[in-house]
């Protein structure tokens, strides 16, 4: 029963996403559509963190490390081989392999939660300063100049197997949206599998999971690596949307906003952080066009408000509200039925008395 309810929810969200995909290019401006591809990349990053943190219980502060590595891997590979299909696979592979190695040392070394957050953030910041120092003609991989803080050009997507046919921005938007929807459905499926449920159980109580004969290190490494692969995929659409990838993907503020999206959208849900990414990106973008308020200041206030007033995040709070209302409705109808029966019994007994 609960399974089918969850499945229905996933389908509804997927269809809404599909409807948005079809309608958006008709109603939105061309420039907005170009920006959206880039936001979709960020939304995939938020989804990956929602999976790793919200379901795996692993607070990975430096999820952007994998996101940025994916972006750089895509840009460098696409520049070298002159096609995007292999480059996308390369981006996923590089991010996942890097996470698998890093995660091996973290989880098999039994590094605790707080240190994991610090280590992953530090890794992102190390990548930030490393990539910033790559200006100059000697820093290149194949034909791709890394370009220091200016970054490197990210070639557009093309049709698979046909490097000459470059996709238009609208087509890129379609591809990005479909990938986002598929990634979302994949994550929904994953958390319902045996593997996913064990990851949730580990989040709830590591000792118990271990005593039930689950090797928690392996499960954590698994979900961490899957999350990194998704983040790498997000990096691809981000850099294609911007047409460049710069060291800023590894910056502290980028790592922080990813965490904010998940907090605002709600940990323990997959759709929440995705929606929060779109909403907060829209907010900061519209604030960017005026000079009265600093966008980062507003983002900080949003974070504080949420931590204090809506600590569970938007989507879980809405679900809670809906549950409470449903319970109240059930209770009310039960009461009404009882009252009805009582009055009926009352009239019967009155009849007997006559």
């Amino acid at each position: 029963m609960r399974l089918s309810r969850d499945f229905r929810g996933t389908l509804i969200v997927a269809f809404c996403g599909l409807a948005f995909t079809l309608v958006a290019p008709e109603v939105l401006e061309f420039f907005t559509i170009i920006t959206l591809s880039q936001v979709i990349g960020l939304a995939i990053l938020a989804l990956s963190l929602a999976l790793v943190w919200g379901f795996g219980g692993i607070l990975c502060f430096g999820q952007t490390a994998f996101f940025g590595l994916g972006a750089y891997a895509y840009a460098v590979t696409a520049t070298n081989i002159g096609g995007s299909t292999g480059a996308i696979l390369m981006a996923i592979l590089v991010a996942a392999a890097f996470a698998a190695i890093l995660g091996y040392f973290i989880f098999y070394g039994r590094v605790s939660d707080v240190y994991l957050a610090i280590i992953t953030l530090t890794v992102a910041l190390i990548l930030y300063s490393l990539t910033r120092r790559t200006s100059g003609p000697e820093y290149k991989i194949g034909n791709a100049l890394l370009g220091g803080f200016n970054g490197t050009a990210a070639p557009p997507l093309n049709l698979p197997g046909d490097a000459g046919t470059v996709l238009f921005p609208e087509d890129t938007f379609y591809v990005a949206m479909i990938v986002l929807i598929l990634a979302y459905v994949f994550c929904c499926w994953l958390v319902r599998t045996h593997f996913g449920r064990v990851c949730i159980a580990i989040r709830e109580n590591e000792t118990r999971a271990e005593l039930l004969a689950y090797d928690i290190r392996l499960y954590k490494l698994g979900i961490f690596t899957i999350g990194a692969a998704l983040a790498g995929l997000g990096g691809v659409f981000f850099c294609v949307g911007v047409s460049r990838v710069t060291p800023d993907v590894f910056s502290l503020s980028q790592a922080a906003v990813a965490i904010i999206w998940v907090i605002v959208g709600g940990r323990g849900t997959l759709i929440g952080p995705i929606l929060a990414t779109f909403a907060l990106h829209y907010l900061t973008a519209s604030l960017g066009s005026q000079a009265l308020l600093n966008a980062n200041l507003v983002l900080g206030i949003v974070l504080i408000v949420f931590v204090l007033l809506v600590p569970k995040g938007v989507v879980p709070s809405i679900i809670d509200l809906a549950d409470i209302r449903r319970q109240r409705r059930v209770a009310r109808s039960r009461e009404r039925r009882l009252r009805l029966r009582r009055t009926r019994n009352g009239s019967e007994s009155a009849g007997v008395a006559e």
Binding site: R2, H194, I200, E210, Y214
Partner: protein, 240 residues
Amino acid sequence: MNRAEIVLETRNLSMHFGGVRAVDRVDFSLSENELRCLIGPNGAGKSTFFKCLTGQLRPTAGEVLIRDVDVTGREPHQIGALGVGIKTQVPNVFEGLTTEENIWISARRWHRSSRARTLTAETIERLQLGDVRSEPVGRLAHGQRQWVELGMVVAAEPWLVLLDEPAAGMTHEETVRTAELIREINRTAALIVVEHDMQFIRMISRRVTLFHEGGILMEDTMEAISADARARQVYLGHRA
């Protein structure tokens, strides 16, 4: 005792914390289908001994053998993978998950999906947890949480069960039912039960091991231990 019947054995097992010898050169053995209680005053070393058996602590010296396999210093999940069911002193449950999900996670470790589902339903029936099937375990009363944890142990169908204070904090009625359940588990598995509650031990035990100052003081029936002068002095004397 016939060697072939021994399912769990420690040889010269020691656990030292700095200068404190919490467990000191303990030789212990448990045979097939046995139900053994470990008792002793606070600080006697029974819980430390228990944690050395379950892999939660790595002993300073000595060996732990399960069915003649040396498992000293193995991780808890490796001990669990041998078919050993473990319940810790502090209730360890998955707070945010429902009763059903808690028990399913345990059953699914060993069985395919459909069998795990039936086994979960059977276990819930057996422990009379049907009313709280869909409740998050974090919201249950203490006694029920203990049973959910016992349910997780039972659902894995272990052949060796280690329980640390299974009746702690339970009402008398709940304690009686737990004792029944433990005797039932004993039909298919050997058990070690660490306990404080003397009444509870009288309900379940045949043979009792008395710990004192990190070592085994004596091993006998509860009646014999109650009658023994040394035992009274270290332990029962405080209560009698």
